[in-house]
């Protein structure tokens, strides 16, 4: 999977490494912006209020 990704990326090794860093950054941004907040709403809420 990751070996295939490495082969698909163009250029010499340092260009591929740079592209991987950029891709990882984009993935992280997408996770933090959309995926994590979406997943979060299905987890047990932490109730901070007092009530009956």
């Amino acid at each position: 999977m990751y070996a295939a990704l490495w082969r698909i990326l163009p250029g010499p090794w340092w260009v591929r490494a740079l592209l991987l860093v950029v891709l990882a950054g984009l993935l992280l941004a997408a996770l933090v912006t959309w995926v994590f907040p979406f997943v979060d709403q299905f987890l047990a809420p932490q109730d901070a209020t007092v009530g009956e």
């Binding site: 070996a3 994590f36 709403q41 932490q46 209020t49 007092v50």
Partner: protein
């Protein structure tokens, strides 16, 4: 002069370099990579939920609070000359979900600046923007009785993450359109999640006419649990009216940098 046997032999040699590639693409290999990826994603999520998101939300809350206080500064008329710092103005409660005040606690850092909205729904108020929620059954800031609010101890901005670090006499400022209500921290209390007595005008006593102006903050205890609630009581000390003609709009010196946005 090529014999059929030789021509067969040549292609049989050519695919040989492909063999290592074929070995890399195996079901077990891909499964392993997927499992590692899933593990990394879970760790990233935990890092986001327990650490990164609190920083992001805290910065957003600080930014939005600064915008609102500037807007209030522009709209504020000079206060009447006879404002008694011990008997402050009390506004009426807004609609549920609407922001009406901000919390500034110097003990929690100079850039600590969090909004308060009406209502204590976990999903629609407390989970949004590091907000505090005001218990609608309790009084408003500065009123005789109990101004009670709730906020998360962990995650969603963790606005009360440091609640147990408050020390007697620490100043807690509630900012509204009218100005800054200074409360002085008194003590902590630990109750069951059903301990609604902390919301009474005189906490834990029913049917007693209040004389003091109190601030009650509730959060969960222990951290990352919903087993108990931690309660922080503070008592009203002094009111600083918002005055656009004064330096810092009349905010006390202790929080001038926070309100001016020079503390981040």
């Amino acid at each position: 002069m090529t014999e059929p046997g030789q021509s067969d032999a040549a292609p049989s040699v050519a695919p040989a370099p492909l063999r290592p590639r074929r070995q890399r693409i195996s079901v077990v290999g891909i499964l392993g990579e997927l499992l590692i990826t899933a593990g990394v994603l879970v760790l990233l999520f935990l890092g986001w939920q327990l650490w990164l998101n609190d920083i992001i939300v805290g910065n957003e809350a600080n930014h939005e609070s600064l915008e609102q206080t500037k807007e209030w500064d522009r709209a504020a008329p000079p206060p009447p000359a006879d404002v008694d710092p011990g008997d402050p103005p009390v506004s009426t409660a807004p609609a549920v979900g609407q922001r009406f005040a901000f919390v500034i606690i110097p003990r929690f850092g100079a850039d600590y600046y969090r909004p308060i909205a009406e209502g204590v729904s976990t999903k629609t108020v407390l989970n949004k923007g590091g907000q505090f929620g005001h218990y609608p059954s309790t009084q408003m800031p500065g009123a005789v009785g109990n101004f009670a609010v709730a906020a998360h101890r962990t995650t969603y901005g963790a606005s009360l993450g440091q609640i147990a670090e408050l020390r007697v006499g620490d100043h807690i400022f509630i900012e509204t359109q009218d100005g800054w209500y200074q409360y002085d921290f008194r003590n902590l209390e630990y109750v069951r999640p059903t301990g609604v007595g902390v919301l009474n005008p005189v906490p834990q006593l029913a049917g007693i006419a209040p004389e003091d102006r109190l601030l009650t903050m509730t959060s969960c205890n222990p951290k990352l649990s919903a087993a108990e609630r931690i309660i922080a009581y503070s008592v009203f000390d002094k009111f600083y009216p918002r005055d656009p003609d004064k330096p810092g709009s009349g905010a006390p010196d202790e929080i001038a940098a926070t309100v001016a946005g020079e503390a981040s």
